[in-house]
């Protein structure tokens, strides 16, 4: 139908009668809102909240196959308490979080400050740091393997060429953790930098100028003017990065699969192994997932509360 035809139909419709057929506006807004939300909420309820509740239920069951399980009360959770691998995974996840979040956010801030001012090739530099964001974690992990492979990897090849010898990236637990942390940082720093650069555009230049006039050096300006002004972004980045770190899976799963031994086993990789691995322990895997979810919720709530108090 051409647009003139639409206009003609519109003109032919009696304008006066339209409003009368509609209920009063405040009812309508609610109905319209729920109609617009419905597709989204339906998908979420079906594919996310449903399975989440199901996982909660499964964590109280002894369940080793698809179909109904047997209720087993708190068995899975009491087993967790005495499971050394679980505590190891919890500790590893904490170490990973501490190693990735502050470093990623601070380096992002540093690079944002560095690349915020005019200089040659600024666009190129920014693109290079952003680029890993679009790579899948699978590609990142495979490149990580290529770099850190102990026997034929690139990094050991280079170290050998300059006479430094092999480094045990895969057989030493701490070094394996280091390699996973480094690859994670590679994909995360760009996002922090991007958010900070956007936020820097809103920092009032006059406040900075005033501080300069008062005799503050560049470092003092950053510390006392810029960093406080960026607090909402910092808060956002810390919360999001923490959630990502708690849930780390892909990179560990592909690069180390939790090894050597259990030295890079994380909560999610352990939950996944228990469920999908040879043990096929669905209930126990679900219990680990539930614990992780609860920890994430509690820590995020604490962060949000603290963040609100600070910003207000």
């Amino acid at each position: 139908m051409s647009s003139t035809a639409v206009d003609a139909v519109d003109a032919a419709t009696p304008q006066v009668e339209r409003p009368r057929r509609r209920p009063p506006r405040h009812h309508r807004a609610g109905a319209a809102a729920w109609t617009m939300l419905a597709p989204n909420l339906l998908l979420l309820a079906l594919f996310l909240f449903g399975p989440l509740l199901w996982a909660f239920a499964m964590s109280f069951q002894a369940k080793r196959s698809f179909g109904p399980g047997e209720w087993s009360g708190l068995d899975n959770f009491t087993r967790l308490l005495s499971d050394d691998v679980f505590w190891r995974a919890l500790l590893n996840t904490a170490i990973f979080t501490v190693a990735t979040v502050p470093v990623g956010v601070v380096l992002g801030l540093g690079l944002a400050l560095l690349m915020n001012e005019a200089m040659p090739a600024r666009g190129f530099f920014r693109t290079v740091v952003y680029l890993p964001i679009v790579l899948s974690t699978l590609v990142v992990s495979l490149v990580g393997l290529l770099l850190f492979d102990e026997s034929i990897g690139i990094i050991n090849g280079i170290l050998e060429d300059v006479g430094l010898g092999d480094v045990a990236w895969q057989s030493d637990g701490r070094l394996a953790m280091t390699s996973v942390v480094l690859m994670t940082l590679w994909t995360r720093i760009g996002f922090s930098m991007l958010v900070y650069i956007a936020a820097l555009q809103d920092v009032d230049p006059e406040t900075i100028e005033a501080a300069r006039v008062d005799g503050a050096g560049s470092f003092a300006v950053v510390r006392h003017v810029v960093v406080p002004a960026l607090r909402p972004s910092t808060f956002f980045l810390v919360v999001v990065n923490m959630i990502w770190s708690f849930q780390v899976f892909d990179i560990v799963y592909v690069m180390t699969n939790g090894g050597p031994g259990y030295s890079t086993t994380m909560l999610v990789t352990y939950a996944y192994d228990e469920g999908f691995g040879p043990a096929r322990n669905f209930g126990y895997g679900a219990a680990i997932g539930v614990v992780l979810f609860l920890i994430t919720v509690v820590i995020t709530l604490v962060q949000v509360r603290r963040g609100r108090a600070e910003v207000a």
């Binding site: 339209r18 319209a32 499964m58 939950a271 994430t296 919720v297």
Partner: protein, 268 residues
């Protein structure tokens, strides 16, 4: 800090950030033989297309590529529609429970996806979706980031424009379709790019639910290949390069949209 010093630091940082990518590209074009003796080296000097040829000979790479485009494309369309609608309702319509719904949607960020994959799989199996693209598309359409981006965009959308449409006799939907959407093109561009990227890069869930290698998407088959090729890094890197090239090109060409979208997610 003077400009030359900053350029020097940025050059060093860029070198570090580029290094893994350069390694991927070089190894993808290095013959298998020179990888195996003496380990992978970045300056072996040999160049070959055999890694790519080997892939195309042994695997249905074109098919995987087509699958990836279909799955990511359909997910993107569905995702943009449901997230834009929800974001608009949350930003502009007054109704009871607005705050709760927003919180509920944002809280999905905290759910560790891999830990609920078993019940998710049981559900998808009961719905009879295993082995169909829908098993991948439907669960990933609604995203917290998408809703949040849309909401942030519409919060700053001028009320006057919508009121003007209402005065002209439009209902909420009419105003949304005729006035709001045409003015939301930057948002739509950003959401399209992000949704496409997210779905394109997903590998674990599609690997579990698609089952049939003929249905695999390019990134999923990369995982399959990794298990099959073990330490044949030439072949693996060739496939990795193929699977990320479309997104890297998209990113470099449309960078300002990506950047605008991602940075908006960080401003409150």
């Amino acid at each position: 800090m003077s400009t030359p010093v900053r350029v020097a630091i940025c050059t060093a940082v860029s070198a570090v950030f580029l290094f893994p990518l350069v390694a991927m590209v070089i190894i993808a074009f290095t013959p298998r033989a020179s990888l195996l003796d003496g380990g992978a080296s970045l300056w072996s000097g040999d160049f070959t297309l055999e890694n790519f040829r080997g892939l195309f000979d042994a695997f249905p790479v074109r098919r995987w590529f087509t699958n990836a485009v279909i799955v990511a494309g359909l997910t993107t369309v569905l995702s943009v529609v449901v997230n834009v609608l929800a974001g608009f309702a949350l930003a502009k319509l007054r109704f009871r429970g607005n705050g709760v719904v927003l919180l509920l949607i944002l809280s999905t960020l905290m759910v560790p996806t891999q830990a609920i994959m078993i019940p998710q799989f049981e559900l998808v199996a009961r719905l009879g979706l295993v082995g169909f693209f829908w098993a991948v598309i439907l669960p990933s359409a609604s995203t917290a980031l998408g809703v949040f981006l849309a909401r942030q965009f519409f919060v700053s959308f001028p009320d006057e424009l919508m009121d003007a449409a209402r005065v002209d006799g439009c209902g909420t939907f009419g105003a949304f379709l005729r006035v709001v959407l045409p003015n939301a093109r930057p948002l739509l561009a950003v959401m399209t790019l992000l949704a496409f990227m997210t779905q394109w890069n997903d590998f674990l869930w599609p690997l579990i639910t698609l089952r049939d290698p003929d249905l695999y998407t390019l990134p999923v088959s990369l995982r399959l290949l990794q298990t099959a090729y073990d330490t044949d890094y030439g072949g693996i890197m060739a496939m990795a390069l193929l699977s990320c090239l479309p997104l890297v090109v998209l990113f470099v060409v449309l960078q300002r949209f990506f950047v605008a979208g991602l940075s908006r997610s960080g401003i409150r």
